[in-house]
């Protein structure tokens, strides 16, 4: 068996889409609405889309903003439903993409791989689609993960720069050839790449803030910043040219569909330009940022005496251990670091005052008990006790088998409803629950047998069954009649 790394990668990529398919699989089971009218996977993709577009350098969109932006899309799928339901659908999809209800708020998929010893082993792959992060002001906002962006635009996990160039060239060509729908797609993809590009820079700056030396500011980062600036410059030119082209296309277009897609394209490209401006501002500030951090981190006092380096010597090694091994270390640390606990003991004065305190007045604790207004329970039984008793009498057939037609006739003399009950019970006896009868310890079970005689009856159609009560014994637990080879014996035609 050969399982290569590529297979594992593909399995992981496949796993990322599972939560989306799962939404459509589960929508039928929702009890608060008939959600089958909605295409949940589409809504989910659109949600990731909206979250990604809203991501900027520092924060992203809040739950409320995303739900609001989703509403028109959801409303378009089921325009006759209420706004409250649309909102509920939006929240349901958002919650499921976050996987609210699990501790990790993430997804886990199991995949197989071949270990160094050639044995098949199962491994867990944990991933998230959307994450909640807290902004400096305490608000919670959403960001899409790399996995989510991969679901959104396939194979985006490539070299950001080369992918961007390809997308831009494609975009320009598409506009020249007048294929606006495709151009819109390309422009959107270009925008996601811009977002991803910004994310890369943000990660680098974050790492710099924590530790200047963890990032290579001598070669790697300056190169990255230079190429990023160059890149933005060329993108500016390209995008401005595209903008001119499509603005013209928008103004001259006759067909309303074409006009609209051109207008959307203008909007997307404008947004791209704004984003590039933001990125450029960040890039320009990056150098100063590095120097400030270097100053801050370098001019700390000289070391004087050795102690334990808690981060490098304890925290990082501990976190690299398996959970089972790490437990011993953290427990030893916790026991030693938590200090003594002081068992709570009441002092005599407080104990005395506690004992002397008057008992609280009960009347202030509980208000008047409201008398519940109870509606009488509706009678849900279709057949009365009397009907059941009469049917029992009719079907007490321990000696001689009888035909269904005869039973119906006799029952109809009393009541049409009784005939109905008898027919249903005989039909039920066609596939007798012998096992249940054995379990409940009943002496007889009603059995209906099909001998091919058609039933001639004004109300019911099918086979005129032979009905008899059979003795039940524990050894004969298997039902004798095979219901598969006969037509349905007594079907209601009324």
């Amino acid at each position: 068996m050969i399982v290569d790394g590529g297979l594992a990668r593909r399995l992981k990529a496949l796993a990322c889409t599972a939560p989306l398919h799962d939404l459509d699989a589960r929508k039928a089971k929702l009890d608060w609405a008939d959600a089958t009218a909605y295409q949940m996977a589409e809504i989910a993709l659109h949600t990731i889309d909206q979250v990604t577009v809203a991501m900027d350098f520092d924060t992203g969109a809040s739950h409320e903003v995303i739900v609001r932006r989703l509403l028109p899309f959801i409303a378009a799928q089921a325009p006759h439903r209420g706004k409250a339901e649309h909102e509920k659908v939006a929240r349901w999809v958002l919650d499921n993409l976050l996987n609210v209800g699990t501790v990790d708020r993430g997804f886990r998929s199991i995949y197989g791989t071949v270990g160094p010893d050639g044995a098949y082993e199962r491994r867990a792959f944990d991933f998230k689609l959307l994450v909640e992060l807290s902004a400096p002001n305490g608000e919670i906002y959403l960001r899409a993960t790399d996995e989510a962006i991969n679901v959104l635009v396939g194979a985006l996990d490539t070299d950001v720069e080369s992918a961007q160039i390809a997308a831009e060239v494609k975009l320009e060509n598409l506009i020249k050839r007048g294929r606006l729908a495709d151009a819109k797609l390309a422009a959107e993809q270009a925008r996601y790449r811009t977002v991803q590009y910004g994310e890369t820079l943000r990660t680098i700056l974050d790492a710099t803030r924590r530790d200047v030396r963890s990032v290579d500011w001598e070669h790697a980062v300056p190169e990255l910043l230079d190429s990023a600036l160059e890149h933005i410059e060329s993108r500016f030119q390209a995008e401005n040219a595209i903008l001119r082209n499509i603005t013209k296309a928008r103004d001259e277009a006759e067909d309303p569909g074409r006009k609209r897609s051109a207008a959307e394209l203008v909007e997307i490209v404008t947004d791209c330009i704004t984003r590039h401006t933001q990125l450029q501002a960040r890039l320009q500030a990056a150098g100063a940022y590095f120097r400030a951090e270097q100053d801050r981190q370098q001019f700390a006092g000289p070391p004087r005496k050795g102690g334990v380096d808690v981060f490098g010597q304890i925290l990082v090694p501990t976190m690299g251990l398996g959970v089972g091994d790490a437990k011993a270390t953290v427990e030893a640390y916790f026991r030693a670091a938590s200090g003594p606990s002081t068992p709570g003991v009441a002092t005599l004065p407080s104990l005395v005052s506690m004992l002397l305190r008057p008992a609280p007045e009960r009347s202030t604790l509980v208000g008047e008990l409201p008398e519940p207004e109870l509606a009488p329970a509706e009678d849900t039984d279709r057949f009365s006790q009397e009907h059941w008793r009469r049917a029992d009498e009719l079907l007490d057939l321990t000696e001689v088998p009888r035909r269904l037609s005869g039973l119906l006739e006799e029952a109809r003399e009393t009541d049409a409803e009784l005939a109905r009950l008898v027919a249903l019970r005989v039909l039920h006896a066609y596939s007798p629950e012998v096992g249940a009868a054995v379990r409940t310890g009943e002496a007889t079970a009603l059995i209906a047998v099909d001998d091919g005689t058609p039933l001639d009856d004004p109300e019911f159609g099918g086979i005129d069954l032979l009905v008899v009560a059979a003795m039940v014994s524990a050894e004969l637990a298997e039902p004798g009649a095979d219901p598969d080879d006969a037509p349905a014996p007594a079907e209601e035609v009324a």
Binding site: D211, V308, T329, V330, R335
Partner: protein, 266 residues
């Protein structure tokens, strides 16, 4: 020494221990406490007596100083011991218990790592560290990033085996856990990392190890001399010994590794 004097001395020693059990009382604010601390420092017999009384109670005297007061630690199986089990018990047990404990422990370690970023900060009696919920989370996630990078460089598949969750590396359990989550009543969700961190900081503040400064960064605290003594004299060594037993040895430069070179520390 007459029996009367001996009884008096024993009472004084026990009183010093009693002060030590109230972590928020300080010699600087209480003249009789300060007098006992002075006596501990000058009178060798009294020092020994104090240690004996403490040992009898199941306590260990880590340090007695004017800044920190009497810093005590519970010995194994003592009535004063706080067990990890009881600390982690309050959280919901939806996740595996062990993972939950390790997460709490890692957070406590990260608080100490952030409070004393360099080894020297632990030794410097005048050093006051500052920690906030935001920073603690960032420190642990930075450690996750370092370990993730290392894993990538090693190019071995170290996704956890699905049938042996105790082999999952501790950092993965932390990295999986969300930083924050919306709750119905808008409060901090207790099983997110920020929820767990803010609980740890409140706990340490109750134990007299931290003092709340302000609400910046999800809650900012400064360390007390007592915390420094506790981590330096006992806790760091305890954890270090455990690691040595597992044959995990990390050598670190003299300026620590939290901000300085994190490459090649292992």
């Amino acid at each position: 020494m007459s029996p009367k004097d001996a009884a008096k001395n024993a009472e004084a020693a026990a009183r010093l221990i009693a002060y030590g059990l109230r972590p928020k009382q300080l010699p600087a604010r209480d003249a009789s406490y300060a007098e006992l601390v002075r006596r501990y420092g000058e009178d060798r017999e009294f020092t020994q007596l104090t240690h004996a009384v403490a040992a009898g109670l199941g306590l260990m005297v880590l340090d007695v100083s004017n800044q920190a007061g009497a810093v005590l630690a519970a010995t194994d199986e003592s009535a004063f011991e706080i067990k990890m089990d009881s600390y982690a018990r309050q959280s919901k047990i939806r996740e595996r218990r062990e993972t939950e404990k390790v997460m709490h422990g890692v957070i406590h370690l990260a608080v100490a790592a952030l409070a004393f970023p360099r080894p020297d900060d632990l030794g410097n009696d005048t050093y006051v560290g500052r920690v906030s919920v935001d920073q603690v989370d960032a420190v642990v996630r930075e450690a996750c990033r370092i370990l993730d990078e290392r894993a990538e460089q090693a190019e071995a598949n170290d996704d956890p085996p699905s049938d042996a969750p105790e082999l999952e590396q501790a950092w993965r359990a932390y990295a999986r856990r969300p930083e924050t989550a919306t709750t119905k009543d808008g409060r901090l969700a207790p099983d997110t990392t920020r929820g767990m961190i803010s609980r740890a900081l409140r706990f340490l503040a109750e134990q007299g190890f931290l003092v709340h400064v302000n609400a910046d960064g999800g809650g900012t605290y400064r360390t007390t001399p007592r915390y420094q003594v506790q981590v330096r004299e006992l806790a760091a060594d305890a954890a270090f010994t455990e690691l040595l037993e597992l044959d995990v040895v990390a050598i670190s430069g003299e300026d620590g590794s939290l901000r300085a070179g994190t490459t090649g520390t292992l």
